[in-house]
Symmetry: none
Subunit: 237 residues, 4 copies
DNA sequence: AATGAATGAGGTTTCATTCAT
DNA sequence: CATGAATGAAACCTCATTCAT
């Protein structure tokens, strides 16, 4: 802030600046080519720094991803948690808040969200450090807990599985965002984003809130027996 | 079937038997460690065949995945399409049918579904052959078309984006299945699967069908302005 | 042995042949440039094989050295042990036998001995797998035990430290061999080797066997006080 | 000495102080992990100075070792030479003197001695600057010359190879010291050191001085033919 | 003098793919 | 068909050295 920074301050700033540059480059490259599809050299080139500098700031390629994920995810999760555990709000507000957080994250840094979706949300279990895979699941569990609490207050239909509600909500949000990330949605304007967010939240709420308008269950109840048996879904030719 | 098979038949059968063994092994290994996390040798070992035999039946590692995906996905898609484009059924039945197809596929071969979810649904755009990435998106587009048609008949609320509806449905289904795949759902009995399927379909339908019971929109309409702006979601420190 | 070898036999032979080729090349290269001074590529080139084949037969560069050492050393040690623990021989015969084993090893494969001397005998403790450093020390300990036993039978002067006797013997042998390895000894003919071997064994024996002719200790006893004090050997602080 | 030092003197002192600190650290680190097993950063950390400062005082890593060796070795050699070339002493006194010098060097700075043993005495020929490898050999040659002279005066048995005598002496001393360095000798007290020194010198002298008590050569003369032939020392299977 | 960030050549290791048997 | 040894390009990582401050 002061006109003159002490040497160490200046150095400290430059260091974190470089570090951030590399992290930024990593996000961009990971988003573009995927973690496995890019080389450390790509990240370095994107960042405009020498090869070895990446290893000055990060132990190895994996830690680079780990850091990208952690910084991106931890903020996301803490905001999510703040919304989900706010005792002064209704379930409805919470759900809308969660959608807000997710879409806002996308608005601010779509590429980072893409990396999170691609490399964190889904990835073989055993492969990486527990944290990565777990991070995503923990978030869903957190939401499930939120839904379970809502059932005790009657805000959520009692016949629903809270874990499934959570999956449903996050699945909708995630694939909604994926639609933007992947180019399925042509209009990526802020307004379109906002509309998508609202639609997702609203549809979800309509579906799970205890409302008068139950869907005409009768029609499917009688055919549910057949489901799962009449379909032949043999995987291989 | 006959006691004696002609030479070519026998050879053909033995070949496809081996081929199938390898494909099966590939599915299992991909599901366990991911495409990038495993080596061709792992697949060969899992199949109990020699190293080079994999290359006898498949051009390269990528074709192996391609084949896994194609055989798994094409059946899935055709069944999906049959359901979605059946002109004699209501939207509700179609949606339930889609959920049926997805969950039945999981019931029959959960590991194959896992591979499809991991390696097909999400993966960086540029990386692989177009087909893979496209396959998933095409399916969503197909569902979007289905929803769009339903709007013309008044079966679906007109104010919803069909593409988003498709994302919402598939997102819910996919993450629902992920909940099983990842172990989030402890009870993986057929009954639990069935329950999940029904809940997902029903909640989705409730949310998007034109019903009397609109959710209390008033409550959020007045705060919607703020959403996407008041939240501070800065990704990095 | 038979004219026709079964497939696996042939393969087995070819495999071990290659493996041996690489090991041989490693010995030569290690002897010439040292473990740290050469690249895996050098070994591959020397062996006339492709780069990656080295890794087909050995886990990594370190295992390559480990194997060189083990195969070379284990034979050496077992022969040494056979000599040292033979209860039917006199100490004198044992000492001569040990010199035999060492010099014969050098005659048979001087480069392998060079590698053993360079990379095994001495090397920082913590660096490598225990076995390497320990192997050498264990051999000395074995000899020390042999000397200790000889003291009980009166074959060795009782006033000597067995461990030091072992060090003395092996030090003499090792540096004797080093004189050949390093080119200090110009004549490397078998006869010269034999002469060196005999001289070393004989001088050692003269020095440690209980003989009438004690060295004129008187002469140094009176000046021993000064030793270790008058010399200024400060390495610089 | 004077109360006031000129600026350059002061600077010079400070410089050499730092320089010495780094050199000291290098000795310790080299002794602990070996030249190849450590990084320049390790030396810097051990010295408690910044990374680049090492390069302020030394051209490169190799010069660091070179300097360690030179300062350590040159003093050692000049003391050794003073003893070996002192025309007023008997061979016996010279040998005892050499042992004195070596053990005193170890007493004063065992780690420096370890480095000398590890990095100087043995190291592949081609690897480094000639001086290093040569330094050790030259010392042995010097001793060999000393022994050769002793033969002309009849102090040393005429049937011995002077070069081998030198190797024998230094081998015994070196491995004697190694026994201490490596922990083979449990008692490392000054007294134990002194005892070892005396035993080595005395045994060596007994072995090589022309004494009445020749070892019973007869016993081995008749079996010497076999040596080197009956032993099967094939290195590999 | 002192610092440690920055550089990049050089080495190791992996693993998809080919090929001889 | 089947095998698995052989190949080598491509990626990762290390670390000596330089350089701007």
């Amino acid at each position: 802030m002061s006109q003159r920074q002490s040497k160490s301050e200046a150095a400290g700033n430059r260091e974190s600046e470089r570090r951030r540059t590399i992290l930024r480059a990593a996000i961009d490259v990971f988003a573009r080519k995927g973690y496995h599809g890019c080389r450390v050299a790509d990240v370095a080139r994107e960042a405009g720094v020498a090869y070895g500098l990446v290893y000055h700031y990060f132990k190895n390629k994996d830690e680079l991803l780990e850091t990208v994920v952690e910084t991106g995810w931890s903020g996301f999760v803490s905001r999510m948690r703040a919304v989900a555990e706010d005792e002064s709000t209704s379930l409805e507000e919470k759900v809308r808040g969660i959608a807000d957080v997710a879409f806002e994250a996308y608005r601010v840094d779509p590429r980072a969200v893409k990396v999170l979706i691609l490399e964190v949300a889904r990835s073989p279990a055993g492969t990486q450090v527990v944290s990565r895979q777990q991070a995503f699941l923990d978030t869903i569990r957190m939401a499930a807990t939120m839904f379970a609490r809502s059932q005790t207050t009657g805000e959520l239909r009692a016949d629903l599985d809270p874990m499934l509600c959570a999956s449903l909500l996050f699945g909708a949000i995630e694939l909604g965002l994926t639609a933007f990330v992947s180019g399925l949605m042509e209009d990526r304007s802020p307004e379109a984003l906002d509309r998508a967010k609202l639609q997702i939240a609203e549809s979800f709420l309509r579906g799970v809130l205890p409302g008068a308008a139950a869907p005409p269950e009768a029609s499917w109840k009688q055919e549910k027996v057949s489901s799962g048996t009449k379909q032949k879904v043999g995987k291989r030719s």
